[in-house]
């Protein structure tokens, strides 16, 4: 039997939908992972030249430096409105927003609700790390009860600050939502599921089915005061319980591969 011929093959390299530039995110911050997943999905779908992104205000404010495609920078919380304007006059393009929890669930709560309610044919990538990162670790609308932040130094007191908002649960109630799911970035298996969900969300938009959102439970090692690894464990041990992973709304018209499940 002849000896098998082996060739060294490139298995994985940085996505062509990302720029050469290194990010400004802190070491171990999962923003980088979500950027990568989005970029890889765009590569795989071959839509880089047809995609327009909207960056938020928050840590990802410079996302446009890292994505190799047309991008605009929105005012805090207004990305869904801006995406609406862009998409309505560019209906054949893929328009996505990238928003954090302060941007989407606090100051931009109205804009996200109405974009979903209208069934706006855009895709939203929602980074939920339960804290305000950019301003240095204040309470977010998704901060867990008891969680210490610089503006809840004794821990979030629900008597004072109320309860966290669960955006997937809320937005999935709206008729305009076609695909609303929550995934997590706390380990490799979940990262792979997250990527599938992002792919599905972009496919939903490509098929014109309506509003799609993927919420990604994410880490903020710096403001949580943990190592990158500890932060991922904290997601698993605390956030997943408060924000259960899963498919909250999957429009019946989506041809889903049932293997792609959150849990």
């Amino acid at each position: 039997m002849a000896e098998k011929e082996w060739i060294e093959t490139l298995i994985y390299t940085k996505s062509g939908s990302l720029t050469e530039l290194g990010t400004h995110y802190c070491p171990g911050c999962t923003h980088g992972i979500s950027h990568r997943l989005i970029a890889e999905v765009i590569d795989e779908m071959g839509i880089r030249e047809d995609t327009i992104g909207i960056a938020p205000v928050g840590c990802a404010v410079f996302a446009y430096d890292y994505f190799n495609m047309d991008f605009a920078e929105a005012a805090h919380g207004r990305a869904p409105a801006m995406a609406t304007g862009l998409k309505r006059v560019n209906p054949d393009k893929i328009v996505f927003t990238y928003q954090g929890d302060g941007d989407l669930a606090s100051i931009g709560a109205a804009e996200i609700m109405h974009a979903a309610g209208r069934g706006e044919n855009i895709t939203v990538i929602f980074i939920n790390n339960a804290i305000y990162g950019m301003t240095g670790g204040q309470m977010a609308p998704t901060t867990l009860p008891g969680q210490r932040t610089t503006s809840t130094p004794l821990g979030r007191d629900i008597e004072v600050h109320g309860f966290p908002l669960r955006m997937c649960e809320i937005l999935s109630q709206l008729d305009g939502s076609a695909y609303v799911v929550r995934r997590s970035l706390h380990n490799v298996a979940n990262i792979r599921r997250a990527k599938k969900a992002i792919r599905q969300a972009f496919e939903v938009q490509r098929q014109g089915l309506g509003f799609s959102m993927v919420e990604l439970l994410s880490s903020c090692p710096t403001n949580w005061g943990m190592s990158a690894d500890e932060a991922l464990t904290w997601i698993e041990e605390h956030m997943v319980e408060a924000y259960p992973l899963g498919d909250y709304k999957v429009s019946p018209s989506i041809a889903v591969t049932k293997k792609d499940e959150g849990r």
Binding site: E8, I11, Y12, P27
Partner: protein, 83 residues
């Protein structure tokens, strides 16, 4: 002989160590003898026995797209790169 190898781009690596925690063969270490231009100890492959399979799990968790993965593939199975 190793079936795979990784190359860490030290301009991108921020030394977060996530790759070290997920490698199934525990082959990734932090290079404590040097700093990247941004001042981090970069990750590096330490694979004296050629155990790396090129599974790319480290690349999947790397937040900075710093890891490039190669694998030896039977010639007849060569296909285009993907994660």
């Amino acid at each position: 002989m190793a079936k795979g190898r990784i190359v860490v781009d030290e301009t991108l690596c921020k030394g977060c160590e996530l790759c070290t925690s997920v490698c199934p063969k525990d082959l990734i270490r932090m290079a404590m003898d040097r700093l990247t231009p941004k001042g981090y100890h970069p990750a590096m492959l330490v694979d004296p026995d050629g155990e790396c399979t090129g599974c790319a799990i480290c690349a999947v968790i790397c937040p900075d797209s710093a890891i490039t993965v190669y694998r030896l593939v039977p010639a007849e199975k060569v296909r285009t790169p993907t994660a």
